[in-house]
């Protein structure tokens, strides 16, 4: 990494902002900022998770009936897709840290592709809910839902199942929104990486983007069992 002019103090990294003394301080500040944002995000999702926890316990049968209408296969595939995208993101940051420009771009584009597959499957799932009138609102109907032995739901359970789908759309929608925001950010990173803006001395934006993407993956790790895998027995 030694460049021709070995005068470390005088040479100034072009990415170093004037209010930071060193690249290390600048990087630590950026990463800390992202962790503070993630702390906020945990509380942001936490509010809806608390609502989910309470209502699931109060209206357990309705939540189990709603959960059983979700497609476990699609949910499992999407979980795997998102874990793959987390791996490609981690490898993208890794490549950026080593200054491998082409590999960085490739892994970031793979991450975008996998994120898009996830969102595509989500669209298919949402379309199914619209098709079966399982979207909360005036058209909502629990006729497609069944109890543990295939029996029709009681009037109360049918009514409360709407709450499950309200939280399903709320939680997965908020999660999907985070991915919709993440994809263009990763695209910008891929573009910048392709134009040689990063190197071993400076790739903080890629790393910060990675933190965001991994956090979104973690949210799904919790949403998947909570929404898709509610057992019928209480």
């Amino acid at each position: 990494m030694s460049s021709p002019s070995e005068t470390p103090v005088a040479v100034h990294h072009p990415a170093l902002r004037h209010h930071f003394d060193t690249m290390a301080t600048q990087k630590d500040s950026s990463l800390l900022g992202m962790w503070v944002f993630i702390a906020q995000e945990i509380m942001f999702f936490g509010g809806m998770l608390a609502a989910y926890a309470i209502y699931r316990n109060v209206y357990y049968d309705a939540f189990a009936a709603g959960s059983h209408h979700l497609d476990v296969k699609l949910g499992t595939v999407n979980t795997a897709v998102l874990i793959c995208s987390s791996l490609t993101m981690a490898l993208g940051v890794h490549a950026a840290a080593l200054g491998k420009r082409k590999a960085t771009v490739l892994f970031l584009l793979l991450t975008i592709a996998l994120g898009s597959v996830f969102l595509g499957i989500k669209v298919v799932e949402y379309a199914d809910k619209f098709h079966h009138d399982l979207v909360p609102g005036p058209r909502y109907s629990a006729e497609g839902l069944h109890g543990p032995h295939g029996e029709a739901l009681t009037a109360d359970t049918a009514r409360h199942s709407e709450l499950f789908f309200a939280l399903y759309f709320g939680l997965t929608g908020l999660h999907a929104l985070h991915m919709i925001i993440g994809v263009p950010i990763i695209a910008i990173m891929a573009w910048k990486a392709g134009h040689g803006r990063f190197g071993p001395g400076y790739y903080t934006p890629v790393e910060v983007t990675g933190l965001y993407w991994h956090f979104v993956d973690i949210v799904w790790i919790f949403l998947f069992p909570l929404l898709y895998l509610i057992p019928h027995h209480a």
């Binding site: 100034h12 990294h13 874990i83 993956d217 895998l229 027995h233």
Partner: protein
Amino acid sequence: MPEHAADSHAQPDHVVPVGTYVLVFLALMVGTAVTVAASYVDLGMWNTPVAMLIAVTKAGLVVSFFMHLKYSPRLYWIWLGAAVFFLAHLLLGTGADFLGHLFLNLGSPGT
């Protein structure tokens, strides 16, 4: 071009080997499979705790290795810890209120 002498005195980043990432990835995939499989087994009241235990383990792997927290300053840990601490308060606080209504005859929590 991005390599500059100015950085040569900065602390080198801890570069996690690719093999570690692949191992974490495989563990996450296995964890997903176990989560789905366990949901089809009747564990009584333990189905959800088991699913959450696996989810927390998976989240711990992502945070430690993919997000490099294992190799990061303690200051980042404090921020994550604070968020988890207050999230636990949020869930336990509302949960305790709910259980109080359920077991102490404080009235039905649902209506």
